[in-house]
């Protein structure tokens, strides 16, 4: 089945959406992410949407849901890389994504996550023996 890959990097989860998602795929991402937060105990989620040419009300709702669900699971979500044309359209559409943290790019997003969570995205030092 088609899925958006989720990468684990230290205590954070990274998602780069690179396809034009149909609704089921967006819902699948929402389910996969919440499941993975709970399984890995990740404290932060970074979603890169710089490849997305469109965020409509459905995809916007999925993004807002992911942020709310991860917050309940004790993880922060940052959405990065939104294209200016997408931002303009979203606001006109009536979607403000209130409650969703955003950053201009991955670097700034990672910094925001580290500050919000108060830790580095690496595994604890005693985990260095792991493969």
């Amino acid at each position: 089945m088609e899925r958006i890959p989720i990468l684990k990097m230290g205590g954070f989860l990274l998602v780069t959406i690179q396809v034009d998602m149909h609704d089921r795929l967006a819902m699948q991402l929402q389910d996969d992410l919440t499941e993975m937060i709970s399984r890995t105990g990740a404290r932060g989620v970074l979603i890169d949407i710089s490849s997305l040419e469109l965020v409509d009300s459905f995809i916007g709702r999925v993004i807002a849901n992911i942020a709310s669900m991860s917050r309940i699971l004790d993880a922060e979500t940052v959405v990065v890389g939104m294209r200016p044309a997408v931002a303009i359209t979203l606001v006109e559409l009536g979607l403000s994504l209130a409650g969703v943290r955003t950053a201009l790019n991955v670097d700034k997003g990672m910094r925001l996550l580290r500050t919000a969570v108060g830790c580095e995205p690496e595994e604890p030092a005693d985990g260095r023996d792991e493969a």
């Binding site: 034009d20 149909h22 359209t89």
Partner: protein, 134 residues
């Protein structure tokens, strides 16, 4: 006003909603729309295409490239033979939904285009026409 090009696409599945968006993007780009205007019309198309599939039980969308004097436009007509919309004015209001969406689709789509026309007959179906001028 002249129609310089037209095409119809079937609209029954979520994958076809994605195809309609991609099609709208291509047409808007070919008509010389700015990136922001492309994004607006594609987003409106996405909202209405989803409505056709989810609420209308499927249907079709007709694309038309328009020429009126020196200005060019893109017109999309979404049609279904679904249950129709009982109260159009209410359906256009932000936050109103009969499904589990946000209720931004219709009103939002209307704000993203220059012309918006909706004809609906309960039990017979819905036709929504949007036009965006360059």
């Amino acid at each position: 006003m002249a129609v310089t090009r037209h095409e119809a696409l079937e609209l029954r599945t979520e994958e076809q909603v994605v195809r309609v968006r991609q099609h709208a993007r291509k047409w808007a780009a070919e008509l010389g729309f700015s990136l922001v205007d492309q994004t607006k019309v594609v987003t409106a198309a996405s909202e209405l295409a989803r409505n056709t599939v989810v609420y209308g039980g499927g249907g079709q969308v007709r694309f038309a490239a328009l020429q009126e004097g020196v200005r060019r436009g893109l017109r999309l007509v979404f049609e279904d033979q679904g249950p129709g919309i009982a109260d159009v004015e209410l359906a256009l209001r932000d936050g109103y939904t009969t499904g589990n969406g946000l209720g931004l689709g219709l009103g939002g789509a209307k704000r993203l285009v220059n012309e918006f026309e909706i004809e609906s007959r309960p039990g017979r179906g819905t036709r929504i026409t949007i036009t965006r001028w360059k």
